[in-house]
Amino acid sequence: MVTEKDVSYVAELAHLELTDEERVRMLRDLNSILGYIDRLNQLDTSNAEPMAQVANRYGSGAETNAMRPDEPRPSLPHDEALQNAPVSDGTFFKVPKVIER
């Protein structure tokens, strides 16, 4: 069972605040969905390897890491990288002060 405390803890991990109303609904929905997910425990998976990726299921050549030569190449120009920044000083992204509290 997910508790209100769990919702607060997970919201903090996920950098979400959530309104009181959202928290009530989240608690209900998470318990409903996780209750459904619990049916996975009906299965004996002791002989099944964890499968994080599908590429190793077939011989696509993608089952090993894809490496490219470590050579410099052009990247996104600085001004274009800043073009969508909500707050920037023209050189850097600006954020609220981090070090002093």
């Binding site: 769990d6 996920a14 605040e17 969905i33 599908v54 909500p86």
Partner: protein, 481 residues
């Protein structure tokens, strides 16, 4: 020229044979969009400058008598999860409401290189999370066959645009059924290629081990033409596979005699709408008449696919969506501290379903629950893959309904996330296993709602999937729209 039922094939031929110009086609499509889209909501952004520039390029080539590229003048729509340089790209989210992408997705670039004209960006569920398009941060999409019903999701705008004749073809993404399910609901063809077949560079990530890119079209031939242009290795996407790309069109129209078609009993049980069952059975009957052998099979872990999916997909999403923090792009809400700025930005920018999935994904990855949920789901995913390995040892393709019911009403499942998740019950497994699947129209309900047939194939065996799809389409001679 009448564009109502224009196919990719016909559009290209019309431009090639100078029956029309690319610019005239673009005019006609924008006129149609302006007249019809207010009631449907398929498009979020039109990119007219870009479309007319491309049309001009094609028409100049035609005037000079240059050989025209394979999609010359074909007007297409692109789901708003693909980046388009200089054009607003929102992923259906308020958090990216004003995001102007600085580069093109590989699939968009490839289609434009092949002569296609991008008319605009289509509506979708926010970050492709949803099965009805009601999770769009901007507006819902209405099913062109019945405006009180959903078009399916998450690529609902792309499916509706083709169904309503507002694009000849379109691009979508499929993480749990987001191409095939809306294709079924809107009565068009939707193809999810094998994982790794099509580059995802420039696709806004939802769940990286599950995200697939694929086309919508009016016909099987059209999606084969589209796939031909987008398939293949891309150095910018390390998950794109080094597998040669066959000539798909050569397989469209080939006989299907002797092919073995698996019919999994788990997809024909309780909960299947009788009208869907009848339509799918009729399609199977046609395949049998065409010389296929229908083989009853079992995919025993089918009932575990949805719970597996909602652990894997949400875990990956919680990680992928961490990037939306108000620093480099997108919405920013002010806060006194950095952490407060992050929280307020994400609270303001994400919709309810996205928050739910981020929370669920964070929970299943958190200390103490990782083994019980995430690792467990990964092990079950292996069992699901084995189901298909076993099945494909005996059959060439697997045929199922695409969805248990035709399109449901707007609002019908909006307050019950679990009921909404179950709309994808027949499509999620292919995403988890990485095999290709197509949905083609196979009939209509008595209310006139389209019904979809799903054909699943072996990894990289799109040729056989397309061959069977085309044979079925041909035999049923389904009249679209």
């Amino acid at each position: 020229m009448n564009i109502d039922l224009l196919t990719v094939d016909a559009a290209r031929t019309a431009v090639l044979e100078k029956q029309t110009t690319a610019a005239d086609l673009v005019d006609a499509f924008y006129a149609k969009i302006e007249a019809d889209d207010p009631a449907i909501g398929a498009y979020l952004t039109l990119c007219k400058d870009r479309a007319y520039q491309q049309a001009e390029r094609i028409d100049e080539m035609a005037d000079r008598g240059d050989p025209l590229p394979p999609l010359a003048g074909v007007p297409i729509a692109v789901k708003d999860v693909f980046t388009t340089k200089g054009v607003r790209t929102t992923a259906g989210s308020k958090i990216l409401e004003n995001f102007i992408a600085p580069y093109d997705a590989t699939v968009v670039a490839r289609l434009e290189d092949a002569g296609a004209i991008v008319l605009g960006k289509t509506n979708c569920d926010e970050f492709a999370m949803g099965s009805s398009n009601e999770n769009s941060g901007f507006r819902p999409v209405h099913n062109p066959h019945d405006h009180s019903r959903v078009p399916g999701g998450s690529s609902g705008g792309s499916a509706a645009a083709v169904a309503a004749g507002m694009a000849a073809a379109s691009l979508g993404s499929d993480t749990g059924g987001s191409i095939r399910q809306p294709a079924a609901f809107c009565g068009v063809v939707g193809l999810m290629p094998t994982y790794g077949r099509v580059s995802r560079y420039g696709l806004i990530a939802f769940a990286s081990s599950l995200d697939h890119v694929g086309p919508f079209g009016r016909t099987v031939k059209d999606v084969a033409i589209m796939l031909q242009q987008i398939a293949g290795r891309d150095p910018l996407d390390s998950t794109s596979a080094e597998v040669p790309v066959p000539n798909y069109l050569e397989h469209v129209g080939q006989p299907v005699t002797g092919l073995k078609i698996g019919m999994p009993k788990e997809y024909f049980g309780e909960g299947l709408d009788p009208e869907v069952w009848t339509a799918v059975e009729a399609a199977l009957h046609e395949l049998a008449k065409a010389g296929c052998k229908i083989v009853p099979i079992s995919l025993p872990h089918t009932a575990y696919a949805i719970p597996t999916y909602y652990v894997v997909a949400t875990a990956e999403a919680s990680s992928n969506l961490a990037r939306y923090d108000g620093v480099r792009y997108g919405l920013r809400a002010e806060g006194k501290t950095l952490a407060e700025m992050y929280r307020r930005t994400r609270d303001a920018g994400f919709g309810a379903e996205v928050k739910r999935r981020i929370m669920l994904g964070t929970y299943v990855l958190s200390a103490g629950y990782y083994d019980a949920y995430y690792l467990k789901a990964q092990r079950v995913r292996c069992l699901l893959a084995k189901d298909f390995d076993d099945a494909f040892a005996a059959v060439d393709v697997i045929v199922t309904p695409t969805t248990p019911t035709p399109a449901f009403k707007l609002g019908e499942k909006a307050d019950d996330p679990l009921a909404m998740y179950l709309a994808d019950i027949f499509t999620v497994t292919a995403d988890l296993v990485g095999i290709p699947g197509i949905s083609i129209p196979c009939g209509k309900s008595k209310d006139g709602l389209p019904i979809g047939l799903q054909i699943l194939g072996k990894h990289f065996d799109e040729p056989t999937v397309l061959r069977v799809a085309h044979a079925t389409e041909h035999a049923l001679a389904v009249t679209l729209n």
